[in-house]
């Protein structure tokens, strides 16, 4: 991995982390007219996968989708405004956190229905194949979604037709309040690839270098017509399922504290320092730059107008 990529991965992870923490504050302050499912602690997956994608490659995302949008290149102002339901958002404020689309940069939806993105991703990949173009689609979903019918149907069709798609399972240990051990028949969801005759990997999703390497190989396979890959990225959901979820009735503080020790950003910072790519001072400069960017985006969202009632049925703002 070259120096530029290493720094870019750090920048993407920090941008996601800081944007999410800012949205947590905005949620408490009543600025978000919906629920909010935040991605803190899982940043390495979106960053590591999307760093391998071109602008014209597609992603489908889940209810926990802000990080995927940022990693795929969405402007923070557009993202935060959409989450706040403002007219300046990527869907004119009519979609919100769980309906964020931006086809121009390949974001084909943060989809609130669990498992809903996988059939769409499979369809997008089929379209690319039928058109004869080398576009790749990535579907991000959680451990809970891997027990849905849509997972199994999508993997089967994608493998049967050798479609250019990556199935990225973000195993953050919890489907809402249900631990993966209580809901899932296999220890490693990656092994489910075998059932559908495709490579199935299980990797440490908190190590951005591992995610980057696995996704790189899978994207190459997809682009060269060799078909889909399933990659399970083990991680941990640091926050409650949604903002305001008192998660202490199904998990312990010790478990969360222990998970915080495996922070993906701290890990990558140590790697970059020991590689001589970045020092503390450089890291602080990057921190300050992104703090500013996030604060500006939050102000922009806050000061943006709401969509006008008379524009409720106007689609002009969408699909740009």
């Amino acid at each position: 991995m070259d120096r530029e990529t290493k720094i870019s991965l750090m920048r993407t992870m920090l941008r996601i982390r800081k944007a999410e923490l800012q949205l947590a504050v905005m949620f408490k302050n009543g600025k978000i007219p919906s629920g909010a499912h935040l991605y803190e602690g899982e940043e390495a997956i979106a960053a590591g996968v999307c760093a391998n994608l071109r602008v014209d490659d597609y992603i489908t995302s889940s209810h926990r989708g802000h990080g995927h949008c940022i990693a795929k290149g969405m402007d923070l102002k557009s993202m935060m405004s959409e989450v706040c339901g403002k007219a300046t958002g990527c869907c004119g404020g009519k979609g919100g956190t769980m309906h964020m689309f931006s086809p121009g940069i390949g974001v084909m939806g943060t989809i609130g229905i669990v498992g809903g993105g996988m059939p769409i991703a499979t369809g997008l990949a089929l379209a690319a194949k039928l058109k004869g173009i080398d576009q790749v689609t990535v579907s991000f979903f959680g451990d809970g979604a891997s027990n849905n019918g849509s997972f199994h149907e999508s993997l089967n069709m994608a493998s049967l037709w050798k479609l250019p798609v990556l199935f990225i399972c973000e195993n953050n240990q919890y489907a809402t309040s249900v631990n993966v051990r209580r809901s899932t028949s296999v220890k490693d969801i990656g092994v489910r690839g075998i059932s559908y005759n495709m490579p199935g990997l299980t990797i440490d999703g908190n190590r951005v270098e591992d995610v980057y390497a696995a996704a790189s190989e899978a994207v190459d396979r997809a682009r060269s017509g060799e078909g889909p890959t399933l990659i399970e990225c083990k991680t941990y959901r640091i926050r409650g399922h949604f903002e305001g979820d008192p998660s202490w009735n199904y998990r312990t503080r010790e478990e969360v504290a222990e998970a915080r020790l495996r922070d993906p950003i701290e890990h990558w910072k140590q790697v970059l320092i020991s590689d001589g790519v970045l020092d503390e001072a450089g890291f602080e400069v990057m921190n300050a730059e992104i703090d500013n960017e996030v604060a500006e985006a939050a102000d922009f969202a806050d000061n943006s107008p709401s969509p006008k009632p008379e524009d409720a049925l106007v689609l002009g703002a969408l699909h740009t």
Binding site: L21, F27, K28, N29, G30, E243, G244, P246
Partner: protein, 97 residues
């Protein structure tokens, strides 16, 4: 930089909450993510975690204050050693609401 801690709107139907107890007292150091206080909504008892690291400078409301409307300031968090003009911080918060 001083931050206002408000009664969070922890759900789309939540209009008000009651403070059950403060887990920190004025002058205590708080870290981002640490529980500050427990509130009771019409559905659940909930710990409110701090979004900021700093000092719990001033507690404005407590368990005796009954129902508190969402977004009402409950406390102010400052930086260590910072002297805060509480009235001014609250006025700025109101202006930005």
């Amino acid at each position: 930089m001083a931050y206002v801690v408000v009664m969070p709107r922890s759900g789309q139907t939540m209009e008000e909450g009651i403070i059950v107890e403060w887990m920190k007292k004025e002058g205590d150091q708080v870290l981002q993510g640490e529980p500050l206080l427990t509130i009771m909504t019409d559905k659940v008892n909930l710990e409110v975690e701090s979004d900021y690291s700093g000092i719990l400078y001033k507690i404005l409301l407590g368990p005796d204050d009954g129902d508190i409307a969402c977004l009402t300031p409950m406390a102010i968090i400052s930086q260590p050693g910072e002297v805060v003009d509480v009235e001014n911080v609250l006025a700025n918060y109101e202006a930005g609401r």
